[in-house]
Amino acid sequence: MKILLVEDDIELAHGLMASLKKEGFTLNHVQNGKDALLTLSTSEHDMAILDLGLPDIDGFTILKSVRTQKNPLPILILTARDGIEQKVKGLDLGADDYLVKPFDADELKARLRVIERHLGTAKSSLITIKTVVLDLAAQKVHVDKIALVLPKKELMVLTSLMENAGRIRSKDQLETKLYEWGEEVASNAIEVHIHNLRKKLPENFITTVRGVGYTVDSD
């Protein structure tokens, strides 16, 4: 995946490039907002990592300009600004994710992979957790190499959980996901889907975090 890194701190950019290269990401680096806008308008990137505190143009301005041009390029904001208002503003302006410095490299990689899977440009569209393999492209699930036939809604719930493995998906988030795909959602639908999935998947594959939501452990 080709990533444009917009970051004015050279040291940080170098560290990031070294770290992400190992994971198979290709990074192009620009140091200021002007170059960022130029590069974004001319060359092809799969996504961008954007610092907000640039020396010439504010990161939000770049984000706005990209979105007003109807450019769907996924953008992950990487910033030292940690205020909730800033985060909300960033996401409202159309950023796909928001990460505050100092960040955990593993966390960044995990989030980049989520974006990659959404784009469908991953080298492999397979998500493998324990004995469960989910093929996003083919919309198929294998458990212990045996194909598992799942109804559409259950597959969507499982996909959301496995894409965000290690993190909690709340009932609301899962419901929203079903709505987004134009599905009718009954009040206890999620509980029913989870119940059905559990019967078909290995034991303890889906964990309930009582009062919060559901999760699939990443390892």
């Binding site: 190992k22 600004r81 940690d82 410095k101 100092p102 993190r167 975090v209 009582r210 009062g211 919060v212």
Partner: protein, 448 residues
């Protein structure tokens, strides 16, 4: 006591005092005038009577006048003439001049004069007037002068009250304006038609407001500047340390380095949070929040750390709302839940519960760790205090600010916090009680 009441009281008192002093002084003067008048009358009458002596030579005279003036005429120690009501004994000593004496149940002012007749006899003429008459005369004089003044005192007092009230109106306007000003509003005040003295006060207040607002801006900018300045180099350090650990996985030095960087990042984070949970900022961010949503969000955010330690976390929550700042409430949950996870063993348990009792939100976070001994309980709220100091047995990243920040946030809500032993899991139970809606008074107090 208000300036208005003070002025009205003092001015009215002075008015009454001056009036009565004037009355007393006037009474004395009138008395002197009356006495002088009477003395002249007595003298004139005496000399007139002395002239008449040749005509009335013997036997007491029975005059019919109703005048209060009385007289006696003595010739060679014999009473030759007297007015009707006059006693027959001498009413005065035979000494020339004015004197006072008591007779006929009254006090009299008497004038005695000695005359030598042509026939060589000595003639004494006594004329007298009751002293009472003098007093009555003086009183009449003074009363007619003072009555209008005394009667007008209430009206003058009312006038004073009105004038003072009018003169102090600008003060009242200023007080009202300052009272209704919101605590976070540091804009300049302006009142039209202020008197000179208040213009100075207004200017000084406005200068203070402007300095205060600059100071706040500086503080706010300093915090965000420091955040940016420290966070970016820290990210570089962290990234490189992580890369180093990846490149030489078995190297202990690299592992230590990575851990120290994490620790530093944590400390800087907490210090910045501490500076951002001030009363001023808290008030600007006040909002009705769904506490359960914030708790869910926090747990979801911290879940990787909890799952990593294979701990079990549960949230038992009612749907409760709270007037608070999202940042403050998130920080509160983050510190409590992250502490619970850090100080509980692997595969330990954490229970977060939320309820609403008598319009107070009760937040409780319990864990299955060691708990905190009663001796340590009051110390853990001190900034930078860690149990066991840097040799904290838990071997986890911490800087001793977590509970201090929690306590600050609880204080902002005018709530209370207590540490107990968890009944469910045997570890620490932190129980926090926050009033759902702070009174406006409380919000005002928070700012001062």
């Amino acid at each position: 006591m208000s300036i208005r009441n003070f002025l009205v009281m003092v001015l009215s008192s002075i008015l009454v005092l001056i009036t009565f002093t004037a009355a007393i002084h006037g009474y004395n003067t009138s008395m002197q005038q009356a006495t002088m008048l009477a003395d002249n009358n007595l003298k004139q009458m005496a000399s007139t009577l002395a002239e008449l002596d040749d005509i009335y030579t013997s036997s007491p005279h029975k005059n019919n006048t109703n005048s209060q003036l009385i007289f006696q005429i003595w010739r060679n120690d014999t009473l030759v003439l007297r007015s009707k009501t006059t006693p027959i004994t001498p009413i005065s000593h035979f000494i020339s001049g004015f004197s006072e004496n008591n007779f006929s149940q009254q006090r009299w002012r008497i004038y005695a004069s000695k005359h030598h007749n042509k026939d060589q006899s000595v003639l004494w003429v006594f004329t007298a007037i009751p002293v009472n008459t003098l007093y009555t005369m003086a009183e009449k004089l003074i009363l007619s002068a003072m009555t209008p003044i005394i009667l007008s005192i209430p009206f003058i007092a009312l006038l004073i009250w009105l004038i003072v009230w009018y003169a102090l109106q600008p003060f009242n306007h200023l007080t009202k304006l300052l009272n209704t000003k919101k605590a976070n509003d540091l804009s300049a005040i302006h009142l039209p038609n202020l008197p000179y003295e208040l213009i100075l006060i207004e200017q000084t207040i406005n200068q203070l407001f402007s300095r205060l607002s600059h100071a706040f801006m500086r503080e706010k900018h300093f915090a965000s500047d420091a955040a940016h300045e420290l966070r970016t180099p820290l990210s570089v350090l962290k990234l490189n340390a992580d890369n180093l650990v990846d490149e030489i996985p078995q190297n202990e030095t690299a592992a230590h380095l990575a851990k120290s960087v994490d620790r530093m990042a944590h400390v800087i984070d907490q210090i910045l949070i501490l500076n951002r949970t001030t009363a001023e900022q808290f008030k600007q961010q006040l909002n009705q929040l769904n506490v359960r949503n914030v708790a869910q969000e926090t747990i979801a955010e911290l879940y990787p750390q909890i799952a990593h330690r294979q701990q079990n976390i549960e949230l038992i929550a009612e749907d409760v709302s709270l007037l608070s700042s999202e940042f403050a409430l998130l920080t509160l949950f983050q510190n409590l839940i992250s502490n619970a996870s850090k100080y509980s063993p692997e595969k330990g348990n954490i229970l977060v519960s939320l309820s609403c009792v008598e319009s107070h939100v009760i937040i409780s976070v319990e864990d299955s760790g060691q708990g905190i001994s009663p001796q340590e309980q009051y110390k853990v709220f001190h900034r930078f205090y860690r149990i066991g100091g840097d040799q904290n047995p838990s071997n986890v990243v911490g800087c001793g600010l977590g509970l201090a920040i929690v306590k600050d946030i609880v204080k902002l809500h005018h709530g209370s916090i207590s540490l107990e032993r968890s009944k469910t899991y045997g570890g620490l139970a932190v129980e926090i009680k926050l009033p759902q809606v702070m009174g406006l008074k409380d919000i005002h107090e928070t700012s001062h």
